[in-house]
Amino acid sequence: MELDPLFISRVQFAFVVSFHAIFPVFTIGLASYIALLEAIYYKTDDPSWLKLSKFWTKIFAIVFGMGVVSGIVMAFQFGTNWSNFSYSASNFLGPILAYEVVTAFFLEATFLGVLLFGREKVPRGLHLFAACMVALGTFVSSFWILSANSWMQTPAGVEMVDGMIQMTSWTQAIFNSSFPYRFAHVALASFITGGFVVAGVSAWYLLRGRHGDIAEKALKMCVIMLAIATPLQLLSGDMHGLNTLEEQPVKVAAMEGNWETGPNVPLLLFAIPDMANETNHLELGIPNGASLILKHSADGVVPGLKSVPPEERPPVGVTFWSFRLMVAIGTLMILVSLTAAFKLWRGTLYQSSGLLRIFSLMIPLPFVAVVAGWFVTEVGRQPWIIQGMMTVGEGLTPSLTGWMALVTLLGYIAVYAVVFAAGLHYLRKVIVAGPDEVEHAHAQITGTPKRPWSAVGGEFEAPAGAGRS
């Protein structure tokens, strides 16, 4: 059997980028949350905020570490497996990625050291500053990387000369047409992901009757934020979709499972797309739904997959179902957030064990939605690596053989399986152990006397053999 380096490279990229994506999308939201907690603590001097911040910083450190190491892989994946693409697009991608490193990665990595280890070594104001710089770094990073990704979806400001991308306008290229929508959509996704994780863990504590005071505080903050962010995400997703309809109509056709260009297209709730026969099986849909959503009128014309030759169509099934999965989770999130906000207003939230249980069960869902969303936009772009300019086949590394790609793919799967399993295990351990008693640490920071062992505020991880779990 002939191993196809193109297919295996695509699977490899999908795997390493999906694995990577789940960490930053959480840490972007969480970094802002920690900066906020630190700011409140700075202002109020109330140790419960310090306790919350220390607890979530611990979680942050683990997740951020996994994000960093899987991110280094991404910096080299373009060169190892997609060297023709990297070389051709280097005039644009190179500076953009380099700017990401110097404006964001250094900021995050360096100030994270101070945030984690510097609480007793720098003045409180500087420690707060470090927390803000980490949060800022995560946002700046997403700005550049989403600009690069959006440019691959909706290229602008460049021309192809003898196989090389040459710049004609940096502003047009950086602020290309899909970028604002993608940036808004991902930024909101980060807040929502962070919010649901913090809310889920807090709800779990409340269900167990542990850490009631600070769990209530954290849950309340999250519910208010989520009640605003989740409906906004629906809006940003809708606007993002309308931009895609304009710029990448074939992707929208795949998302809707629509084969023929025409009016009165139904919104399919279920279908099994069949690319070979250019049709769907077992269709179940709402009449005129897709036309209404995309064109805001029942007889709006929706593009179909048959508008391009078969070799220019993305894998329909994956795009179609990833989109449905993302939307379903998004809808559930809006319902849960609004219900919780209502109960918060009525003063019954902390006693609603049903809703608290739902929150704690929902922790994995934002991650699933984020990965599904990336599948929609990335698989839906196929067969293009740069929409309309270069295909994935043209972008592949010429010297790459199928077995090389396969061996490294299996290698990454093995490495990430170990790292992920261990990461989840230690995260669980930190959560089960709960926020430490940090009054001593607070006393030390504010200058009141400390007791032996108090400075560490993390007894559970200090002595090697004496862990509590």
Partner: protein
């Protein structure tokens, strides 16, 4: 019409970035390489805590190297990575294991010894892979029309095996002198005992590589033996600094051995550049052939002029914050 040679500026900038990476991640990888040889678990805690606040920033210089190459010398990026495909995977897998070991080891109870192994193994494999990359650069690549056309294991030769091991020894030397600077008591005693031996091993590799490279490579031979005799100041200075480090180790000086080892590394680094200049993708392409569009080089350069000093500024500040000896109970136990 070109008043400024942007490509030359970028050679200096990338050279500086790689140099920063080698020095900074060099010592924290070195700490990992030394891990199993440390006297006890408490020493390992101290050693890990001494690099925990800064390793992440150090490793960012590697990402800057990758992105900087893509921006300024895309041909290097698009040839080296495919040519070193398997080596790059080993490098990344190594960095992943040692990177997560920082967080996981201190959270582990029964699994702690496994994270010791991961920290050591990951650091060693990553260091070896970096040495092999340098060796392959000296060795050259099979390139047609700017694209790599060789096989998956062309990079793995006795020569790259040797440069790989040389870098492992070199990083271990940086790691052990760092440990001397950052610890006291039994950990420092152990480091003082180990450092002269490591320095000897490093010098042995230095002599081996210096002899082997010109003998197998006519271009390098010509560079060192044909024209410029003052180049001989280079190995001479290197040996003088090595002697100085020996002397300072004997005197049990805290900081000088680390500084001296960094200077030694700088000399090796410059020596390689002198051998290879002006080739970016040997044997046929110079830095000017490998360069990106001047517009892209300029666009990034303008930002770098402001941003790199800022980065250096706050990096220096964190090193200042975490200056001095690490003590038990500080660092990881504290967050």
């Amino acid at each position: 019409m070109e008043l400024i040679d942007l490509t030359l500026i970028w050679v200096l900038l990338i050279g500086f970035g790689v140099f920063m990476y080698v020095l900074m991640d060099g010592f924290d990888l070195g700490v990992g390489i030394l891990f199993p040889f440390a006297p006890d678990e408490e020493s390992r805690d101290l050693m890990m805590n001494s690099v925990a606040p800064v390793w992440d920033g150090n490793e960012t210089w590697l990402i800057l190297g990758g992105a900087g190459l893509l921006a300024a010398f895309p041909m290097i990026y698009a040839v080296f990575l495919p040519a070193l495909y398997i080596g790059v995977f080993l490098l990344l897998a190594g960095l992943i294991f040692r990177g997560v070991a920082f967080e996981f080891r201190f959270k582990a109870t029964t699994g702690k010894k496994w994270w010791n192994v991961a920290f050591f193994g990951g650091s060693t494999v990553a260091s070896f892979a970096q040495g092999a990359v340098i060796g392959s650069y000296v060795q050259g690549f099979n390139v047609v029309d700017g694209r790599y056309v060789g096989g998956a294991f062309d990079w793995l030769t006795p020569f790259t095996l040797m440069t790989g091991l040389g870098v492992v020894a070199g990083y271990a030397l940086l790691g052990v002198t760092w440990t001397i600077m950052k610890t006291e008591g039994k950990t420092q005693d152990w480091a003082f005992k180990l450092a002269p031996k490591l320095l000897g091993v490093v010098l042995l590799f230095f002599v081996l590589v210096s002899a082997w490279t010109p003998l197998t490579n006519e271009r390098v031979m010509a560079r060192w033996f044909d024209h410029v005799n003052w180049l001989w100041l280079f190995p001479a200075t290197t040996l003088i600094f090595a002697a100085w480090v020996f002397y300072k180790l004997k005197q049990r000086s805290d900081i000088a051995p680390f500084i001296g080892s960094m200077i030694l590394f700088s000399m090796f680094y410059l020596g390689i550049l002198i051998s290879m200049w002006p080739l970016a993708v040997p044997p046929n392409y110079t830095f000017w052939d490998a360069a990106s569009d001047p517009g892209s080089q300029l666009f990034l350069l303008i930002g770098f002029m402001f941003l790199i000093p800022i980065v250096l500024g706050y990096t220096a500040w964190t090193y200042w914050v975490f200056r001095g000896k690490v003590t038990a109970g500080a660092g990881y136990a504290g967050h």
